[in-house]
């Protein structure tokens, strides 16, 4: 009985803390967003594009068995609105015709360029360049079974001061690079990395690998992910970035200073969550060296990505994300509560351990002990119901807050009905979706403890011209 009472008290405090932190992040994110929009109002993107001093960017596209979409993806990337662009496609040991398709489309020819692997990678078999498109390089390398290795090969071959990693199956908006560079150019001496927002592509109309019309997906499971992505990026990342504690820049869309990525040894090969791992190591390196820096997040440069459409794929993805989280936190556990790592060691990493990594375990324990306490009479039934209702209402409030942020930033859902649907789904996100996510994350934890670090395939519907088709 005493154990249950103590356990319930701890859970109560945990829950209050978690909600207060998220509410704080929401308030900070809203205020930062308003400021960013005022700043953008005075920015002229065409001046950045016309300036001879705009730094070049290398887009690195790791591709593994992407024959279906690689040509259109590369075409779309080369069509991005940025004045100094280099695109490096890294074919990571594909067993399909990824390179052949590119070879045909761009008349690729072998280039006898000396490739120096500053960051160790699996051997590069050939480097191709195109007489039709001088900005395109294709690296054909032996597969190493991980995306990080392919990205590292791209970083070795890159020639620009900034590199941007983009998934071959994602779509960048035409102005996204100029917009993300606003985050760099505002303070180029200090800003070492900038993340943009990744949003759900499912349901939207695509023409020539560009978003023609943004629409909400039809399946509830996809709509719930839309809200989840909005909350994670517009509230979580925006909030942490305000205090220079951004722990992750999405692997699907982020820009990094190339020299710094090289200094920290590139992306960790075989890391499950290579993006999270890199950003934490960057924080570590810069704090250890006492270098002034800022890792930024900008809410309007958008990358659209396909999310799982079935529960099985979603479960695999969430399990993998959780494995990635543990895989990045564990090697950096020595950063916790150490003065030299400042607020990263004292705030964001403990937050990630307690409110992200341990969250599914604590939630599960919470459900069990609260039900037990209620059954055994330690907890009043009325209080339990009230607490449950509060938890639900508060979590819904945060979800609606993220929809508000979407409205304030890019406002991509122009139709009233779409917004109404989004708001409606905010009511369903916390039951039963949240509980399902908890189970998947627990699976990820279990797999990690068992040493299963496989990625697991995701079933993709593919980028179609018409979502209704």
């Amino acid at each position: 009985m005493r154990f249950l009472a103590i356990s319930n008290a701890i859970l109560f405090i945990y829950y209050v803390f978690s909600n207060v932190i998220y509410l704080g992040l929401l308030i900070v994110a809203i205020s930062r967003n308003v400021r960013h929009h005022h700043r953008l109002g005075n920015f002229r993107f065409e001046l950045i594009k016309a300036s001879p001093f705009t730094p070049p960017i290398t887009l690195i596209v790791p591709a593994h068995n992407e024959e279906r979409s690689i040509v259109s993806s590369v075409g779309a990337l080369l069509g991005l609105d940025y004045p100094a662009l280099e695109v490096i496609v890294v074919n990571d040991g594909s067993s399909d015709a990824t390179v052949d398709k590119l070879q045909k489309a761009y008349d690729l020819r072998t280039a006898r360029i000396l490739y120096i692997a500053d960051i160790a990678t699996a051997p590069v078999r050939a480097i191709y360049r195109s007489p039709l498109e001088p900005r395109l390089f294709v690296l054909d390398k032996q597969g190493a079974g991980c995306k990080a290795d392919a990205i590292n090969a791209g970083i070795n071959a890159a020639t620009s001061p900034y590199v941007c990693v983009v998934d071959a199956d994602s779509i960048l908006e035409r102005e996204s690079l100029v917009r993300i560079m606003v985050g760099v150019l505002s303070d180029p001496d200090r800003v070492v990395a900038v993340g943009g927002i990744v949003r759900v592509l499912n349901g939207s109309r695509i023409v020539n690998n560009q978003i023609e019309q943004v629409r909400l997906p039809k399946r509830p499971i996809e709509v719930l992910q839309v809200i989840e992505y909005l909350r994670a990026f517009l509230v979580g990342r925006e909030g942490w970035a305000t205090f220079n504690m951004l722990p992750i820049i999405s692997g699907a869309f982020g820009i990094f200073r190339r020299d710094l990525v090289k200094q920290v040894g590139g992306f960790r090969t075989h890391a499950v969550g290579e993006d999270l791992d890199l950003v934490i190591r960057m924080h570590r390196h810069l704090l250890e060296e006492h270098l002034p820096y800022h890792i930024n997040f900008i809410p309007d440069p958008t990358c659209w990505t396909e999310v799982p459409t079935d529960l099985k794929s979603l479960a695999r993805q969430r399990a993998r994300w959780h494995k990635g989280l543990i895989d990045a936190l564990w090697p950096n556990r020595d950063m916790l509560f150490r003065a030299r790592y400042g607020r990263v060691g004292w705030l964001v990493l403990p937050y990630m351990w307690i409110f992200e990594f341990l969250a599914p375990v604590i939630e599960l324990v919470g459900y069990i002990t609260i039900v037990l306490a209620m059954v055994l009479g330690v907890l009043s039934r009325a209080f339990f119901m009230q607490f449950l209702l509060f938890g639900y209402a508060f979590a819904t409030l945060i979800s609606i807050g993220s929809v508000l942020l979407e409205e304030m930033t890019v406002r991509r859902y122009s139709d009233w009905r779409e917004v109404a649907r989004l708001l409606l789904y905010c009511l369903f996100e916390h039951f039963p979706y949240r509980q399902m996510t908890m189970v998947w994350r627990l699976q990820g934890l279990w797999q990690y403890l068992r040493g299963d670090l496989q990625w697991g395939a995701m079933k993709r519907v593919g980028i179609s011209a018409d979502p209704s088709g």
């Binding site: 400021r35 005022h38 700043r39 109002g41 005075n42 001046l47 300036s51 001879p52 001093f53 705009t54 020819r109 072998t110 280039a111 006898r112 360029i113 000396l114 490739y115 120096i116 692997a117 500053d118 160790a120 990678t121 699996a122 051997p123 590069v124 360049r129 195109s130 007489p131 020639t159 150019l185 505002s186 303070d187 180029p188 001496d189 009043s380 009325a382 209080f383 009230q386 607490f387 209702l389 509060f390 209402a393 508060f394 819904t396 409030l397 609606i400 807050g401 929809v403 508000l404 409205e407 009233w416 917004v419 708001l423």
Partner: protein, 400 residues
């Protein structure tokens, strides 16, 4: 008065949670209400704005000429905002002879004075917006207000002032920036300063030379970099002085500038820079050589093709592979260098440009035994080079 804590204590846990529920529900209703209201307001605002824009556009010529007195639109906030934005867009796009009537409209209507007032007295983003709008007017009387922004304590306001001065594209607007950076009194991102200076000094780059004489260290590098973008044949000897500068970044900028000035001194100066101890200066010199029309550059480029730095080699190869009429001779010269890396870079660029097939055709058609031998030799050497590069990759890859 009882404390907050004792009030909470009195409520008990159940009462507290009940209030929290009510608070959350209220929050939800407020957020949803805000979203709905915001949508409704924005739709209404943009509809009205479109209607007014159409109406004002229909009478645009009269508004600019002053036939419609400014009092008709100036005191309606929406109309005033629309006219201001159209005027500023037109000023940015107009040719010099189209500018006076637009500026006159700004002056007569008092819009310019209003912007100057806001740039001087407003705070935060409102001040920054006014500064940038003022810069877009390209009016000389705006410069003092913009210069005042350079001394702001807010970094964002300083940046806005720098950008606004750049937007004026008036040479005089560069002087306050130059004075401050040379004296080390301007703390702003380098890129904003460079862009502004480039815009303001475009018609008169000589002004930069004057300040370059006084500047030292990073400021000197910055000014040289801007000058490189604006260089014209008129700059002459100043560029030669920069080409011999002690700072490698300045020499690199000089090389960049020389690429825009195809005069008698260009080739000797670039020749000297192509032998610079710093690789990036040599690279810049090679890039500049690619931009000038002078067959004398082939000799320099052949030397650069054998450079110790791969970027320099590749760039030299890129330039040489695009010198179509002389390619056959260049190939012979490259083979004669006996440098495998040079040959590899050159063949690679020939392949990429598609010129390798033309060359092979030319050589096969010539029927000269010696040339056929040369081609065979080239192929053998290229193969060997690939093996070499493969080894280099393997060595560098280490673990693999």
């Amino acid at each position: 008065m009882e404390s907050v804590f004792s009030a909470i204590e009195k409520l008990g846990p159940a009462g507290l949670v009940l209030r929290a529920i009510l608070g959350s529900l209220l929050g939800i209703f407020l957020l949803v209400g805000f979203i709905v209201l915001r949508r409704w307001y924005r739709a209404r605002y943009f509809r009205r704005r479109s209607e007014r824009t159409v109406a004002l556009r229909a009478r645009w010529d009269e508004i600019v000429s002053g036939k419609i007195p400014p009092t008709d639109w100036r005191f309606d906030p929406l109309d005033c905002d629309i006219v201001e934005s159209i005027l500023l867009d037109n000023i940015e796009m107009s040719a010099p002879d189209g500018l006076p009537p637009l500026l006159n409209c700004l002056r007569v209507s008092g819009l310019l004075d209003m912007l100057i007032y806001e740039a001087r007295t407003a705070h935060s983003w409102k001040q920054r917006t006014a500064l940038l709008a003022l810069g877009r007017t390209r009016a000389r009387e705006a410069i003092p207000a913009l210069v005042a922004g350079l001394d702001s304590r807010s970094a964002e306001t300083r940046i806005a002032a720098i950008r606004a001065l750049g937007r004026t594209a008036i040479t005089e607007a560069a002087i306050p920036i130059l004075d401050r950076i040379v004296d080390g009194q301007l703390d702003a991102p380098e890129r904003s300063v460079k862009n502004s200076l480039a815009n303001c000094c475009r018609s008169n780059p000589e002004i930069l030379v004057r300040y370059l004489e006084q500047a030292r260290g990073p400021v000197r590098e910055l000014l040289a970099r801007v000058l490189a973008e604006l260089a014209s044949p008129g700059l002459g000897e100043e560029l030669l002085v920069l080409a011999a500068d002690a700072l490698p970044e300045v020499r690199a900028s000089a090389a960049r500038a020389l690429g825009n000035t195809n005069t008698s001194y260009t080739l000797p100066a670039l020749h000297s820079l192509a032998n610079d101890p710093e690789w990036f200066v040599r690279l810049r010199a090679v890039v500049a050589l690619g931009e000038i029309e002078n067959v004398g550059k082939i000799r320099i480029l052949l030397r650069s093709l054998c450079d110790a730095n791969r970027h320099v080699r590749q760039r030299a190869a890129w330039v040489l592979a695009r010198m179509e009429p002389q390619l056959e001779q260049i190939l012979d010269d490259v083979v004669a260098t006996n440098d495998d890396y040079a040959l590899q870079s050159f063949i690679s660029e020939l392949e990429r440009s598609g010129a390798i097939e033309n060359i092979a055709g030319l050589i096969a058609g010539s029927g000269e035994g010696s040339v056929q031998t040369t081609l065979r030799e080239v192929v053998e050497r290229a193969k060997k080079s690939v093996e070499l590069s493969g080894k280099a990759v393997a060595v560098a890859a280490g673990a693999h």
